[in-house]
Point group: C2
């Protein structure tokens, strides 16, 4: 397994792989791997000849009061896990390589980034789409694989790729959950025992919504009222948003007709977690 | 010579050329060719195995009160001229192919686009950098060739390519002038005889500035005073801007030390023209 920190070296590696007829899969990550990350890498491994990942905690997607500094990092452990699932190359750049002096270019997906996390985290998606545009130009993949837990991120990246005619396929993969239903997240490491218990109410509230939907409920206000009531009766929880949106536009809807997603962001004391459920899909809770 | 209007078809063509080891040169244009365009194509022809151009009057770089509708177009003539200089493929898309429904992604180069034309034409460079990002992803060139007449455009595109790690070289080529010194522009066709006479005062004022510089003048205010006085004493002229800027940051300077450009935008009645001179360079006026 190669570890490359230079942009130029990564581009030469990828260009040479492409020119020799290889297909490249790519999983961009911020590291501190859990089974969610590994499921993306396994998918990438199956799809292509060369599996590239990146490990980079991207500063431009964190707000000034967010957890960039304390975001968990463990490169040695990540490297071992990547080796185990058959990663061929890890792109592992430093900030000064990615954002040199006079850096000033940003990619904005203007509409689907307005609602949900875009409202709570101004500038977040600008940072995400910009770093993904950069990484796609550096790693030159045929496939890039993202988890559906960051649902709005996946929608924004698909939109960017479509709009800017980037010649690669974006693959979304199902949320991976702990046995108790908690969506896997590198930020789960922040949770103390009683906070973890409180966090479970996110996935449980999704299950309540699923059951209402399965019984025929289509009224958004009715479903959200139950979701909010369930989450709020538990300690440590503070709902950032609980919304049901069209999965293409990510605009709020009042009634469920087309494909719709229930998206949640909840602060468990200081830890902000997200989860979601697309109505009609499986939910392993 | 192939003419391709489908994005997918163009990408397949370019990917196949790249995979067979060919180098691709690319000249993006809005058509209505003059010798300036042709000089870019000749440079592209020399540098690579495959010479691609695009002809596309990009709506997103025109302001609402600008000349998008009446911008001159003559595809049949352009096609013949392109054939004569050895173009291999013309990418010639329609608006609905480039900006389909729900289009919403824009690339912003935030600093070097603030001054000069960025001030007079809000949104112009956002349109330019966005369409170039798209075209680079569609045509996949190794080299893209731009004229130095649109000096700020060249600086913004170089910055975008550097910042977003696009793996291609941007080549700037000298301004091509009419025998009387007028910088070639597709918009020159708008000029009536007396307006064309007035337009000549742009290049002549650059020559005045060059001569002051060559005699040792480095004070920006002194040079600009002469430039403005010269242009303004001619009929039909209305200076949009006349500025001297650092060529990297495009910020105004007070004294010429590093590489500096005198940039002009002048309205000749309704026709807005630009021209520039980088101090220390040749000027064929």
């Amino acid at each position: 397994m190669k570890i490359i920190s230079s942009i130029r070296e990564m581009q030469v590696f990828s260009e040479s792989a492409r020119n020799s007829g290889q297909k490249i899969s790519f999983v961009p990550t911020m590291g501190y791997f859990h089974d969610g990350h590994l499921s993306l890498m396994r998918e990438g491994r199956q799809r292509a000849d060369c599996l590239a990942i990146s490990i980079y905690v991207n500063p431009t997607q964190f707000g000034p009061s967010e957890d960039f500094e304390k975001y968990p990092r463990d490169f040695e452990r990540d490297k071992d896990l990547a080796g185990d699932v058959g990663v061929d190359v890890i792109f592992y750049p430093e900030d000064k390589e990615m954002y040199p002096e006079h850096y000033q270019t940003y990619v904005n997906v203007e509409n689907v980034t307005q609602n949900l996390c875009g409202m709570s985290r101004p500038g977040h998606f600008r940072g995400v789409t910009t770093v993904c545009a950069k990484l796609f130009n550096i790693v030159k993949p045929h496939y890039a694989i993202f988890g559906e837990k960051d649902f709005q991120q996946l929608v924004a990246i698909k939109r960017m790729v479509l709009d800017l005619n980037m010649d690669l396929d974006i693959i979304g993969m199902p949320i991976v959950r702990e046995p108790d239903g908690l969506a896997m997240s590198s930020r789960n490491v922040y949770l103390k025992t009683d906070e973890r218990e409180a966090a479970l109410n996110m996935s449980r509230s999704l299950k309540i919504a699923k059951e209402m939907y399965d019984r025929g409920e289509r009224d958004v206000a009715a479903i959200l009222a139950q979701v909010r009531k369930y989450i709020e009766r538990h300690p440590h929880t503070n709902i950032d948003y609980a919304k049901i949106c069209d999965t293409t536009t990510l605009k709020d809807i009042g009634y469920i007709e087309g494909e719709s997603v229930l998206a949640l962001a909840v602060k468990i004391n200081k830890t902000r977690l997200i989860d979601n459920y697309v109505f009609g899909n499986r939910l392993d809770v």
